[in-house]
Symmetry: C2
Subunit: 286 residues, 2 copies
């Protein structure tokens, strides 16, 4: 699928492209942002996927996340996809901020009426990268990393764990680490998968990490703000993820930083975006 | 006037405060953002005012401008004021994006019905700093600089030129340099001042620079994007400002950088924000 470029915006010596394309996987037009660093005009560059959180589109990270600055320095392209299909007119799709539109949870739904279109896992791991690598030859298909925020942090961790070898590294900002045990996750998984808890577990980072066998260790960077109300309300549960990783001897490479007073906003993300780009760069250029 | 703090947000090791206060000068409640860098908890810090452009509030620069990163590094507080009074119910106030609400032009209007409230020049140069220095003792009242974007670039340049000694330095992003000669300026000045062109000239950077006598030189940093449609449409006219500065021998310290392909957006501002903070820092710490 080829892309329509609706804007080309100079940013930190590179270009931010506003793109849209028709997705077969999710059955609608999908918008996204692609940042090409200055190095992309000279040679192939590795790619970092940034998955956004509930209510966001591909614009939030591009406008407020401050990834471009560090990405331009390192020579890394950044993809900012949307968070769900849009405008499908599925009953209930637009009724809540934490389910349906803007809340695709980066899974392939199995329950009707969402099973046909809410296939964000396949979109993010297959159709979108394939389309990007075809249309933008300066992107290095062999060197991809992933990061994300909140629901997108859940997406980054689970897609990394479910698709060994696909991503060189993973990191996350305030990720939903244990969706089967938090209100956001229970609501979404029940709506997208039905009531079978065994199915839910296949999409839960805390469950998945217990089965991680690819390679030796697991080097993950996670930042969580201690002033984050969603953390305080038990929506994120990073402690559960750490505990699970420890239970299978994977704690060594796992860095969870509790950042004093930081909240859940893009002010938090922009402050630490450089660290996450640098974390990815270690692996993308290894 | 004391401030109400509606939010305190951790950002780059410092704090972004969302403030509001009742302004006597403009006769309504005014919201703003104040970034206190980490150094403000240890000692007094200098202050950079960032004046935003048409349609903006104090939020745009704080969310998308990326001043906090460089300001935290240097130890400079940043003030992000609103661009006009709000909610006064003056006839016509909300009819256009480039006049009235969101378009105060940092002048004191003399024409009715705007003369009573549209006094953004007095608000920015007198009431707001005075209130801030009273409420936030960590701000150094003796060390202030100013910058701004588009209409706010006009504000920064003209307030600097009209109030010698008030600001240690000035810089601007895509400023309206010669409002009496461009459509935006003609509309606004005619609405705020009436038809007397001699009055208009008192608020036009290109006119004011011809009379600049304070100190020896004039060290101004201006960035303009060559892909900026408003530049191409003749709304900014930086060449006129340069020509006027040259005519009085002030070209030496005037740096106007034409940035290839950059547009008028916050993607442009965020790319060069660090340079403008560093420009201010040279003078604020001199």
């Amino acid at each position: 699928m080829s892309f329509k470029t609706t804007a080309t915006i100079a940013s930190f010596g590179g270009k931010l492209l506003k793109l849209s394309h028709t997705s077969k996987t999710v059955g609608c037009d999908m918008a996204l942002n692609l940042y090409l660093p200055p190095q992309a005009s000279l040679h192939k560059v590795p790619v970092l996927f940034y998955l956004a959180g509930l209510t966001c589109t591909g614009d939030n990270g591009a406008e407020k996340g401050l990834f471009q600055s560090a990405a331009a320095e390192k020579g890394i392209a950044v993809v900012f996809p949307d968070t769900s299909p849009r405008g499908l007119n599925i009953v209930g799709e637009d009724d809540a901020y934490d389910f349906g539109s803007g809340a695709g949870f980066y899974i392939n739904a199995t329950k009707e009426p969402y099973a046909k279109n809410y296939k964000m896992e396949s979109y993010i791991t297959e159709e979108l990268p394939s389309a990007l690598f075809t249309s933008f030859p300066s992107l290095d298909a062999s060197s991809i990393s992933i990061t994300g925020h909140s629901m997108g942090g859940h997406g980054a961790l689970t897609l990394f764990l479910k698709h060994p070898g696909t991503y060189k590294s993973v990191s996350a900002f305030a990720p939903i680490c244990n969706p089967i045990a938090c209100p956001w996750g229970k609501k979404a998984f029940s709506g997208y998968f039905g009531d079978n808890i065994e199915e839910w577990k296949k999409h839960d980072a805390t469950e998945l990490v217990k089965d991680w066998k690819a390679g030796g260790g697991l080097d993950v960077l996670i930042d969580v703000g201690t002033g984050d109300n969603f953390y305080k309300q038990g929506q994120l549960l990073p402690e559960n993820f750490v505990q699970a990783a420890k239970s299978v001897g994977l704690e060594e490479g796992l860095v969870v930083r509790y950042q004093t007073d930081y909240d859940h906003s893009y002010f938090f993300i922009s402050t630490f975006a450089k660290d996450h780009v640098n974390h990815a760069a270690k692996y993308l250029f290894a």
